[in-house]
Symmetry: C2
Subunit: 610 residues, 2 copies
C-alpha cells in the first residue's frame, strides 16, 4: 500500500481504522470457526464452551490493545516488531521478529484467500469442488493488481470495512432478538459422542481461536500515516479496533451457543450464523459477499507489508539485494512474486481449506507480539519517564501473556502443522544470517568503504577466434583493433582430421590474400574438441589481461538461433570456467540497424577529473 506523504492525505481515526485494521476485522470470519472446530471434538455439549473461550481471547485482546497504546506513544515513527526488536533486543531477536513477520504475511494471504473462498462456497455450494482453483484465481487477481502498482487510498477501504462491520453487528443483533433460528443447516448428527471435556481441549480451542487476534499490531506499525496529533489518533483507532473486535467476537460466541452451531463441511460457521439470524435471503448474501470482499482486501494488505519489509531486510543485507529492486511501475516485483508463490504453494497443499491453515497462522503473530512487548519493557527500563513502572508492568504482563500463548499455541497445535513453523522460523533466521555473512565477506573482499589504489593500465591482448575470412571476421578484427594494439586471431585445427586441415589451409591462403595486419595463430591439436587448444593458449599468454572477442552472427529472429552452431557459446562457457580471460561475445547483426533517432538527449552532468 502506498502511504501518502502529504498531510492532507494522511489518515484520520476512521480512515486509519479502515486502512490498517481490515486485516484484524477480517479474522472474525475464521476466528470463531477455529474455536468451534476444536470444541466439536469434545461433543455437542463442549460447543457451549465457545463463550468462555472467546471471553479469554477477548481479555487477551484488551491487554494487547492497552500494550499497543503504549507502543504507539513510545514509537511515533512506527513500531513494527522488526524495528523495536532491532533497537532494544539486538540483531538475533530482530531477525526472529523479521522471520515471524515474513511467515505472518505469507499466511495472512493464504488464510484470507482460503476464508474468502469458504465464504463464497458457503453461499454458492456448487463452487465447492473448484475451491483450490478459485483460491488461485483470487491470488492471481491480487497479484496482478499489485504488480500493476495501482495507488491505494485509505478512503477506498472505508466502505467495504463499514459494510462488513455493520453486517456482522446486524447478524448479532438480529440473532439476539430472534427466539428460534430462521434457517438451520443440516449437519451429520454425531449421536452419543460425549467426550470428556479436558483442559487440553480448552487450551487447544483457545489457541486455535487466537487467530482472531492477528492484525491488531498493524495500527502501531503505521503511526506516521495518521494526521496530527498522530499518537492520539492512532491510539484512539487502536482502542476502537479493540472494542469493535471484542464486540463482534463475543456477540458471535453468544449466537454460536444460542443456535447450537456445529461444524459442517463446506459451510462456514459465519454462514450458519447468518442463516440462523437473517434467514437465507437478501441479507444473507450481503453478509457473505461483504465477507468475501473484506477477505480479499485483507489478503491484499500483505502485499503492502511484505515487499517493504523485504526491502528493509535487503538494505540490512539479510535477504538477497534483488528485493530492493523496483520495477518499471515502482513496485517491488520480487517481494510480490515471493509472496504469491509461497501462498499459492500453501493453498495447494492445504487444498484451499482455511481450517488447515489457521492453526499455523497465530504462532508467528504471537512471536511478534512477544518480541515487541519485550522490547517495550527494555525501552521503559532504560528511559524511565514518569509512571514508567506501571507502563513496564503492563508491557511485561503483555509479553508474558503473549509469550505463554505462543508456547501453548505451538504445543497444542504441534502435530496439526505447528511443527512447520517450528522448522521454518529458525531456518529463515539461519538463512538470513548466512546471507548476511556472505554479503559481509564480499564487502570485505571488495574493500567497500575504503578508497582503493589508483587504477593501473593493464597490459592486454585481444584474442579473436576465427573460422574463416568473411565480413564477420572483418568486423571482429576491426573492433579488436580499436580496443588494443596487441590483437591476434587464433584458429584451432585438429591435425588428425583431413577435412579440418583442408579448411585450415584455405583459411591460411585467404588470410594471406586478405592481409588484415593481424597475425593468425594456428592452435594444432589432435583432438576434436576445439575449445581445449584455445583455453591452453589463453592460459599461456603471460599477460595481465587476455580479452577474448568471440564473433557471432546475431540473427534477425529468435528462432534463427537454432541455426547457429553452439561453438561460440561452448567456447565462452569453457573460457569463463577455466581461465581468467575476459570473454565477450561480439554479436554481428545481419541487418543494418537504422541510426538512432531518439529525440530527447539525457541531461548529462560531467565531473571531470581526468
Amino acid at each position: 500500500m502506498t502511504v501518502a506523504t502529504n498531510e492532507r492525505h494522511r489518515l484520520g481515526v476512521i480512515g486509519g481504522l479502515a486502512a490498517l485494521s481490515l486485516d484484524a476485522m477480517a479474522s472474525v470470519a475464521y476466528g470463531p470457526e477455529a474455536i468451534v472446530l476444536v470444541l466439536a471434538l469434545g461433543g455437542a455439549n463442549a460447543i457451549g464452551l465457545t463463550l468462555p473461550v472467546t471471553g479469554a481471547i477477548a481479555l487477551l485482546l484488551i491487554v494487547l490493545v492497552l500494550s499497543y497504546r503504549q507502543v504507539i506513544a513510545a514509537f511515533p515513527d512506527g513500531g513494527g516488531s522488526y524495528g523495536v526488536a532491532k533497537k532494544y533486543l539486538g540483531r538475533r531477536a530482530s531477525l526472529v521478529a523479521g522471520a515471524s513477520l515474513v511467515i505472518d504475511y505469507v499466511l495472512n494471504v493464504a488464510v484470507s484467500v482460503a476464508a474468502g473462498v469458504a465464504a463464497l462456497t458457503s453461499a454458492v455450494p456448487g463452487l465447492f469442488a473448484y475451491r483450490v482453483w478459485i483460491a488461485l484465481a483470487v491470488l492471481a487477481l491480487v497479484t496482478a493488481v499489485n504488480l500493476k502498482g495501482v495507488a491505494h487510498s485509505a478512503r477506498m477501504f472505508i466502505l467495504p470495512t463499514a459494510v462488513f462491520v455493520a453486517a456482522i453487528l446486524t447478524v448479532i443483533l438480529a440473532g439476539l432478538l430472534r427466539g428460534e433460528p430462521a434457517v438451520t443447516t443440516a449437519s451429520a448428527e454425531q449421536a452419543g459422542q460425549v467426550h470428556a471435556i479436558g483442559i487440553l481441549l480448552l487450551l487447544k480451542a483457545f489457541s486455535n481461536g487466537c487467530a482472531a487476534l492477528t492484525g491488531v499490531e498493524a495500527i502501531a506499525n503505521a503511526v506516521p500515516s495518521f494526521r496530527k496529533p498522530r499518537v492520539v489518533r492512532a491510539q484512539r483507532a487502536e482502542v476502537v479496533l479493540g472494542v469493535l473486535l471484542a464486540t463482534m467476537l463475543l456477540g458471535l460466541a453468544v449466537l454460536i451457543k444460542k443456535f447450537e452451531i456445529k461444524p459442517v463441511e463446506g459451510v462456514t460457521v459465519l454462514s450458519q450464523l447468518t442463516d440462523a439470524s437473517l434467514g437465507h435471503g437478501f441479507g444473507y448474501y450481503v453478509v457473505q459477499f461483504s465477507t468475501v470482499v473484506l477477505l480479499a482486501l485483507a489478503a491484499n494488505t500483505s502485499y503492502g507489508g511484505l515487499p517493504v519489509l523485504a526491502q528493509l531486510l535487503a538494505k540490512d543485507h539479510f535477504v538477497p539485494h534483488v528485493f530492493k529492486l523496483r520495477g518499471q511501475r515502482q513496485v517491488y516485483r520480487y517481494g510480490i512474486w515471493f509472496l504469491t508463490l509461497v501462498a499459492a504453494a500453501l493453498l495447494i497443499v492445504a487444498r484451499g481449506d482455511m481450517n488447515t491453515l489457521v492453526p499455523l497462522f497465530a504462532i508467528g503473530v504471537f512471536v511478534g507480539f512477544t518480541l515487541s512487548q519485550a522490547g517495550m519493557v527494555r525501552h521503559w527500563w532504560h528511559s524511565r519517564p514518569a509512571g514508567w513502572r506501571a507502563k513496564l508492568a503492563l508491557n511485561g504482563f503483555g509479553a508474558i501473556l503473549t509469550g505463554v500463548a505462543a508456547i501453548v499455541l505451538t504445543a497444542t497445535k504441534f502435530t496439526e502443522g505447528a511443527w512447520l513453523i517450528v522448522i521454518a522460523l529458525p531456518l529463515l533466521v539461519l538463512l538470513m544470517e548466512v546471507v548476511h555473512r556472505n554479503y559481509r565477506r564480499i564487502g570485505e573482499r571488495l574493500e567497500l568503504g575504503r578508497i582503493p589504489d589508483r587504477p593501473t593500465h593493464l597490459r592486454s591482448r585481444v584474442v579473436v577466434p576465427v573460422n574463416g575470412v568473411s565480413k564477420l571476421t572483418r568486423h571482429a578484427i576491426s573492433v579488436a583493433s580499436g580496443l588494443g594494439h596487441d590483437v591476434v586471431a587464433v584458429h584451432a585445427v585438429n591435425a588428425s582430421d583431413p577435412d579440418d586441415v583442408r579448411d585450415f589451409n584455405r583459411l591460411i591462403a585467404d588470410w594471406e590474400r586478405w592481409t588484415p595486419g593481424v597475425p593468425l595463430i594456428a592452435l594444432a591439436d589432435d583432438r576434436r574438441r576445439l575449445t581445449d587448444p584455445i583455453i591452453k593458449y589463453v592460459r599461456h599468454c603471460e599477460l595481465e589481461t587476455v580479452f577474448v572477442l568471440i564473433p557471432e552472427v546475431e540473427p534477425d529472429h529468435v528462432w534463427q538461433r537454432l541455426l547457429q552452431n553452439q561453438r561460440g557459446a561452448m567456447l565462452a562457457h569453457a573460457l569463463r570456467r577455466d581461465t581468467d580471460a575476459i570473454v565477450c561475445r561480439l554479436r554481428f547483426r545481419i541487418h543494418d540497424t537504422e541510426p538512432s533517432t531518439d529525440p530527447t538527449p539525457t541531461l548529462v552532468t560531467i565531473s571531470h577529473n581526468a
Copy 2:
C-alpha cells in the same frame, strides 16, 4: 556405428551380413504379426491367407534384392538413397529421400524397442503392465551406450544374429515336423465373426506386412565397409540376406496357417509359434531372448545411421549446424539426442505397442526404395553400359513396384497413422528448405567466399557503469584503460529520490579523493529505471564502437548468484536489445585463482603477416 577404415578390419560376407542386416532380420519379429493382425479382421478363415500375402511380399523382396545388387555395382562408394537422389534426381528429391530416411531411423528405433519389449513381455507376462517404462529404459540404455561412443566391431554382431536366425529356422523346422501344436495360447474366441474377405483387406495385410522388408537397403549403403572385392562381397551378402529373409518369412507364414494362430493381446505371434513348435521350455526362452537382444541391436543401428545422415545434411546446410558438432567422445550428441527424444515421444504416444507403430514404418522406407530405384533408372539412361536396357528395366520395375507399394501403404493405412507421415514428410522437407534458405541468406550477408575489405581501426569508447568506489571499480577501470584511451565511468542517478542523490554525492566525493584519471559522468533522470539513462547515453555517443564493460562480482559458489542483484544482467540485456554497443560483463572473482600450472604447452604455429 564406427566403421573401421583399415582393410583388415573391413567386412567379409558373414560379418557384413551380421553388421548390416540385423535390422532387416529383426523385422521377422514384427512383419508376420502385422499381416495376421489385419487378416484377423476378416475372421478366422482369412488368417489362412497369410501364406499368399507373404508370398507377394517375398516376390517384392526378390525384386528389391536384385535391384540392390545393381545399386551395389553402380555405387561402390555407397549408394544411400540421399546420395543417389542428390546425384540423379536433384535437390528436392534428395530432400524427400533425406526426410524419409530421418523418419525411418526414428521409427526403426521406436518399432524395434517396442517389438523387443513385446517379445520380453510375451515370455514374462508379469512385465506387460510396465511395457512403456521398460521400453524407455531400453531406449535410455541404447542412448547411453551411443553417447559413450563405444567402438563397435562387426564381429560383435555375428553371434546374436546367428543365434537368432538359427532359432527362427529351428522353430520353422520343428513346426513343420510336428503334427499338433505343442502348446496353444488361449485366445478370446471370435465366434461367428466371418467377414467378407475383400481385396482391400488383402491390400492392407500386404502393406502392413511390408514392414518386414525394412532394412534391406543397408548393405547397399555401406559397400565401402566390405573387404575387396567389395562389390562382389556386398552383392553376395545382399543375396544371402534375401534368401534368409524370404525363407524365414515364408516358413513362419506356413506355420501360422498350420497352427491356426490368432492375434492375442500381450503375446506376440512369434511367441505363439515358438510355443507351438518347441513347447514352453528352454528352447522357447532361447528364441524369445535372442529376439529381444536382436531387436535392441536393431534399434542401435539407427544410432549409427541418423547422426551421420544429420551431419551430411548439416554440411549441405539443410539442418542446423549443431548436428555437425562432435562431443568430447567423438559422437554426434545432437543427432543421438534427437533420435532418442523423438523415439521416446512415439513410444509414449503409442503406449509401447509395436502394432500401433508398424503401420507408420514401411511408408518412409518404400519412399526411399522408390527414389533410389528411380535414381538408378536415370543412372542407366545416362551411362548406358553394356546390357543397360535390362538393368534399367529391372530398376524401373523395382521403382514402379515400390512406388505403387508406397501409395498402397499410405492409402490403406491412412487413418491408422499414415496421415502422420503424410504430414511429417513434406513438413520436414519444407523445414530443411527454410533452414537452407536462411543459411544462404546469412552467407550472402557475410559475403562468404569473398575476401572482404581490410579491417579498419574503429574509434571506440569504453563505458564503465559504476555504483561506488571499491576494488571492483578499480579492477574495471584498470581493464578498461588497457582496452582504450577513451574511457568513461557513468553513473545513473534518479534525481527525485533523496537516497539516490545522497549515494551519488558520496560517489562524487569518493571519486575526487580517488582520482582514477577517468571522468565520471552522471546520467540524471527522474525515473527509477537505471537502464534508460545509460541506454540514452550510449545511443548518443557518436562513435563507431561503444564498448560497455559491466563490472560484476563473480561468486565462489553457484548458489551465491542468488545474492547478486540483477542490475548487471538487466543492463546487459537492455543494451543488447536497444543499442549497437558491444556489451561485456566483467566478472571479478572474489577469490584469487592460483596461477596456471598447466604443464603441457600447446603446439603453436604462427603465420605472421602483421
